[in-house]
Symmetry: C2
Subunit: 533 residues, 2 copies
């Protein structure tokens, strides 16, 4: 069908830009350093990119890879590529060359756009399917790869809006490779309908409006920026680009551009809350922060709120287009103590208005667990925002969809108020002497110790108990806590068997998106030993 008939139109996030360019042609759409594009200019750049790709032979069903930080070309890609019927493959800039090559090749991308800073990650001789490279010279003029420069590429093509090459809501829109803590990355496929609905879902939960200013602390290559790449445009708000997550820049832009919204992993919030000048920060208005990726420790929530931020905690995965649930505020919570409030807010919560279907089940029987905050099961999801499947991997898709639900691999309890709380990744839960220990629960307690900056708890082998908890801790600068102090602190708040038996101080291994890689810590401890769990 065409994009719209008299009483049906295809749900596609591409049309958000069409509308905002029509309604707000002179409003600021994109800010990047000194550059400012209005919605009219933003749309024109998108149309130029779309036409330039068409001229290069890119069309329906093709894949276009982008390897860029959060700069305007990334936003442009989110409209120009799907507009012409192609699919966008956003590649994580923190990966190694071999991983980048694997993703570009596996995705069958025939066209690659790369920021010059990351051009060295491209092993062009190992990418036989790629026909053309274009380099974005955002911070320097070094064009390492053969092919055109991005601005020249745009300038050479027509500014007219191309005919949309979208004829179904289920058409492939993008492929997002999961950073994958183990094994090869898998390509998660999104479609137009899912992205449209999820973008609106994000707008509803974050409270974005036309007058909002959104700072790009979250990588756009991560679940298409949780669909905010489309949601911010939907309401005609302003995108503020950010090449690198640096606290100085974040605070400068918040002040200068009057940022009202940002999304960030808890590690970014830790960085923001421990910035030396954080205590001097004076927000002009409320800064609405949506966080996800790992349960934020209550302490971090409190610290950020102290400097004028409002934290909304969400939870999701790449396979569900980013966030799926939100720790929705309840009337009555304002009466809780600060600690109780932070604890309530650190839970993963309830489904979005637009996502709706989520449960905690016994993964074998698919029966929901008791709503008692104790029984542990797996979080499963269903609905329009569950991926179409893994690209070229029907086996993995089938396994992820077993029982008619998407299996998150996250273990959680369901509280009596219907709120989900993650206990652990399936592989992270500790079974010690037959008792389950949630490493997240232990970490949350350790975070409350004044000398702790970051902590990760993993199981280590124990001849008596099978396995016991061990804590890896990054102390705050200028502090020197002892293992005993930490263990005693933990015992004050938790059952004795949950306290770590071992403590190690030092740096923590992290993924490219800033998630702590517990599996690396765990593997080191279990080397040569077989873990049954």
């Amino acid at each position: 069908m065409p994009i719209s008939s008299v009483n049906k139109s295809i749900l596609t996030p591409v049309e958000f830009l069409t509308r905002s360019a029509f309604v707000y042609p002179d409003k600021t759409a994109v800010v990047h350093g000194e550059k400012r594009y209005t919605y009219g200019e933003f749309a024109e750049r998108v149309y130029r990119l779309a036409n330039a790709l068409i001229e290069k032979g890119v069309g329906k069903g093709d894949k276009v890879a982008f390897l860029c930080p959060n700069i305007p070309p990334m936003l442009e890609a989110h409209y120009a590529v799907p507009m012409i019927g192609a699919a966008l493959v956003s590649v994580n800039i923190r990966l190694a060359p071999v991983e980048v090559s694997y993703i570009i090749d596996h995705s069958d991308a025939k066209f690659v756009v790369v920021d010059s800073e990351f051009a060295s990650l491209i092993e062009s001789d190992k990418l036989p399917k790629v026909k053309d490279f274009v380099t974005v010279c955002d911070i320097n003029d070094t064009k390492i790869l053969e092919g055109m420069e991005y601005e020249e590429f745009l300038a050479a093509s027509s500014p007219d809006r191309p005919v949309l090459n979208i004829d179904s809501e289920d058409q492939l829109l993008s492929i997002n490779y999961t950073s994958g803590t183990t094994g090869r990355p898998k390509g998660v496929m999104y479609h137009h309908r899912g992205a449209y609905l999820n973008a609106i879902g994000e707008v509803l939960e974050s409270g974005l409006t036309t007058s909002s200013v959104y700072l790009w602390t979250l990588p756009m290559f991560h679940c298409n920026g949780w669909c905010f790449t489309w949601g911010v445009t939907a309401v005609g708000a302003t995108h503020v680009c950010l090449r690198a997550v640096v606290a100085d820049d974040i605070y400068r832009l918040i002040d200068q551009e009057e940022v009202s919204h940002l999304c960030a992993a808890p590690t970014v919030l830790i960085m923001m809350s421990t910035w030396p000048k954080a205590s001097e920060v004076k927000m002009k208005g409320t800064l609405n922060i949506m966080t996800a990726g790992a349960p934020p420790a209550p302490t971090i929530i409190r610290n950020m709120e102290a400097i004028g931020a409002e934290i909304t905690h969400t939870y999701g995965l790449t396979e569900v287009y980013g966030p799926h649930s939100v720790c929705a505020w309840q009337p009555g919570w304002e009466k809780l103590s600060e600690d109780e409030k932070a604890t309530a807010k650190s839970r993963q919560g309830v489904p979005f208005i637009t996502t709706h279907y989520m449960d905690v089940v016994d993964p074998e029987t698919m029966e929901p667990v008791a709503r008692d905050g104790v029984a542990i099961g797996e979080i499963v999801m269903r609905g329009n925002n569950v991926m179409t499947g893994y690209y070229k991997d029907p086996e993995a898709t089938k396994s992820a969809f077993s029982g008619g639900w998407f299996h998150s691999g996250d273990l959680a309890v369901m509280h009596d108020d219907g709120y989900v709380e993650i206990m652990d990744r399936k592989k992270d839960i500790i079974i010690s002497g037959g008792e389950n220990i949630s490493t997240v629960e232990v970490e949350n307690v350790i975070y409350r110790h004044p000398d702790v900056l970051e902590v990760a708890v993993v199981p280590v082998p124990d001849s008596k108990w099978g396995e016991v908890p061990k804590a890896f801790i990054v102390p705050k600068e200028g502090t020197d806590p002892s293992p005993e102090e930490i263990i005693n602190h933990t015992r004050e708040h938790l059952a004795r068997f949950k306290a770590p038996k071992y403590i190690e101080f030092g740096e923590l291994p992290k993924t490219a998106t800033g998630k702590i890689q517990k599996f690396k810590l765990r593997e080191k401890e279990w080397e040569g030993k077989k873990r049954i769990n």
Copy 2:
């Protein structure tokens, strides 16, 4: 398909209630006088109604008619009826018995729920298709009709959630009969997908959030309350019921329940702004008013804003689920003078985020008119919120959909900023000596005269000019303006030929929903004469 599979779920507004009952079981959902229902209780009442209807043999494809003012049973109907696969027919309580009978019979309703105050409108002997009547005794115990009382009907059935009988987004959800200024009312068919998207569209444009309190000044029988029956529930906000539109009650409830949002036709705004104690009103917060139904005169917008209301002007028709366009605020408008601002805000504007497709075209060629604010064409729409068609009237549907767009019958210009401004209903435009005169433009000027409460301008026959404008005016209480004063006032602001040649003072005929019936004034003037236009 079932309501949801692993990666697809049916878009239906019924699921908004499922989610809010899950997420906010203890939050106030519905207020009606002394009664307060939480979302848990609201859902239970809905499930009881659904089960009771099932027990009466109502199921997939059946029609259920409700003839009630804005009371809780009306809200319950919006979930219980579609939940079991039936379609809701909300009948206008201001119609005559013969019209009510026509609608109930034409809709094939087999079940009727009526509020006791309006039971006398039901001619049960003329409704052979209706199997059962249920009477709501909200303000008295007089049960005129045979059959059960509503609360007994609910009490006798199960409170368990029935299985949803919805297997397609395009399934019939409701039939809304247009009040129809001429001819028989036509039954406008809505489906689940359209209502879901339009409800979200209303939330986005009105800024409703979980903490909002919505007052039901707009009849729920009018386009299903512009889909706010579903939108308010979607975000878990509070519905405040209102049996009758009385200024004292409106202001009392705004104060008592801390109302944040309401929708109203301009006639209601006139009533509110001319309420004797309006000048003493102190709003606790901003009162967000969405208005539509007729272009509000700039003076009315100014008056309401003076007492602390924020007016959003929208435009639509029953055939597009209520509002389709909004006069979106532009950065820079804050610099306009109060008069310029009010004029800018009285335009019909641009499409909603979710409606998107609207144009002003030459209805013969379907070519868009020039974006110059001068060329007049017909407003046409397209998209998910255009009706499925007129019930049992394929001819009228075909005619309304000619050229692949829905024809609104409204004549408008498109300004150079893309904003649509209605000039007139097709039949209302005056062609005087070959010049087009917009009656709305003339009315807006007359509204600025300090002695004018309401005005309607229509064409009357003229031997020289073919037709000329005549103004029917309701003066403000205690004033006694002369025809000359009004004509001179108009000439100060408009071309001479646009000023009314005749003035008549007195009451204005109105439809049941409060729209001025210009056609009645026009018909009287043209009796026995043929109008070519």
